[in-house]
């Protein structure tokens, strides 16, 4: 066994020594004990791995995660669904019903573009109202957020006004809206109000066309503005009134 081969094998040696009794490691370990250069490399490797393992174990886990899982399990057990995966069945049944509903809507109602946009706006505002999970990324500027999104090959090419892009952000989150990815950017505006920008790939919303004028509405306590570009559909929602929201358009 060459030193290179020994290093290759020892790369998989856990720093806590759990693999000490692994026969496949034995020869490489013996070689490290004989060869000072290999021994030095292995010592450094284990020290490095040990630090990284420690750092990984320092990553905080959401405090509510365990209780959420246990509560979910109790609810499932309480409805007698523990053996057969009724929840999965119910989930697929619900998806089927929704698909049938959507198909019916498309085939028989053919809503106008305005109706489509209104439906989309209403659903997304509902999504905002229900949102409770933490942000995926915390960043103080739109460019920070865009950098984070871009690095993960997520939608980041936003067409927003200078006034909005200059506002501080809190961060962003990737939401799932009936299987469609929605990018949410939260702004902490200079007037002390929170504003949320929701962006969806236009290809995911067939039938949406660019409106003749900017649309501002009030829905479920949110003032919203929506607009469409070649690539994306945007919804800006804020708790302020229409003139306040217009400042960022």
């Amino acid at each position: 066994m060459t030193n290179e081969e020994a290093k290759f094998i020892l790369s998989a040696y856990r720093p806590n020594g759990s693999d000490a009794s692994d026969p496949a490691m034995a020869e490489a370990l013996q070689q490290a004990a004989r060869d000072p250069e290999l021994e030095a490399w292995f010592r450094n490797e284990r020290a490095f791995d040990s630090v990284i393992s420690q750092k990984l174990s320092d990553v905080k886990v959401p405090v509510e995660l365990k209780s959420t899982i246990l509560v979910g399990h109790k609810m499932m057990a309480g409805t007698g669904r523990a053996g057969f995966p009724w929840s999965a069945f119910a989930k697929w049944a619900a998806i089927f019903i929704v698909l049938v509903g959507i198909t019916s809507l498309v085939l028989f109602q053919r809503p106008s573009d305005g109706h489509l946009m209104a439906a989309y706006r209403s659903e997304l505002v509902g999504l905002l109202a229900k949102k409770s999970s933490p942000l995926d990324y915390h960043g103080r500027s739109l460019s920070d957020v865009q950098g984070w999104l871009s690095k993960r090959e997520l939608r980041s090419d936003f067409a927003v006004s200078d006034a909005l892009s200059e506002q501080a952000t809190m961060g962003c989150q990737i939401l799932d809206w009936n299987g469609t990815q929605v990018t949410l950017v939260c702004f902490d505006t200079s007037d002390g109000q929170l504003a949320h920008l929701l962006v969806v790939d236009r290809d995911d919303l067939p039938g949406i066309v660019e409106p003749k004028e900017l649309s501002l509405t009030v829905e479920k306590g949110w003032t919203t503005a929506s607009w469409v570009t070649e690539d994306n559909v945007y919804l800006l929602a804020g708790k302020g009134d229409r003139p306040e929201l217009r400042n960022y358009l």
Binding site: F8, R14, P15
Partner: protein, 185 residues
């Protein structure tokens, strides 16, 4: 840890939800999605766990299931590139452990997110230290040689990321918030 055959659902959750979450976070890079993956994994355990005959394999079952669910959620995205199995260059930047010690857990997860996706799973499972390389191969459904190869290459990429931070500190001083944070650790 109690006998796996006797563990209740609550004990299993208590024993494994934290490493599962860290594994999920390194794969998804998104806390909300990571939490969902963990919940989905335990939901599947509650529904199908009784089918597992060897109860000593609970841990591997959970990690395998979480990984499979993650892949399922990514099936529409770019397919993983194929990597040849083989020895890798070990003439890589030698990073002193004390330099690695300057980063914190969240920065580490971010750095793992920066390395090629194909290396993230093996690397995170290795650093969680819950599984041997043979078990990692079973969880990820890849040959043992591929696990070792990906570990070596993944570690090399991680070292390069850490070295990059060190160079940044050297060239720009403590001007950015990230670098200040590193310097404070």
């Amino acid at each position: 840890m109690p006998d796996p055959k006797e563990q209740s659902f609550e004990e299993i959750v208590g024993n494994f939800y934290e490493p599962l979450y860290r594994f999920a976070l390194s794969l998804t890079q998104r806390p909300a999605e990571a939490g969902d993956l963990v919940q989905e994994t335990f939901f599947l355990w509650a529904s199908k766990g009784h089918q597992l005959r060897d109860k000593t394999k609970v841990k591997s079952w959970l990690f395998t299931t979480l990984h499979r669910e993650f892949l399922g959620s990514r099936r529409r995205q770019t397919r993983f590139p194929h990597y040849e199995v083989g020895l890798v260059e070990h003439a890589l930047p030698k990073i002193e452990p004390k330099l690695a010690n300057k980063i914190d857990g969240s920065e580490l997860v971010e750095m793992i997110g920066d390395i090629d996706e194909v290396y993230r799973g093996p690397l995170t499972l290795f650093y969680l230290q819950e599984h041997s390389y043979q078990e990692i191969a079973e969880i990820l459904k890849i040959p043992i040689g591929t696990v070792m190869s990906r570990l070596s290459r993944g570690k090399a990429q991680l070292r390069q990321r850490i070295e990059g931070v060190e160079k940044k500190i050297g060239s720009t001083g403590n001007s950015s918030s990230k670098i200040v944070k590193l310097g404070q650790v």
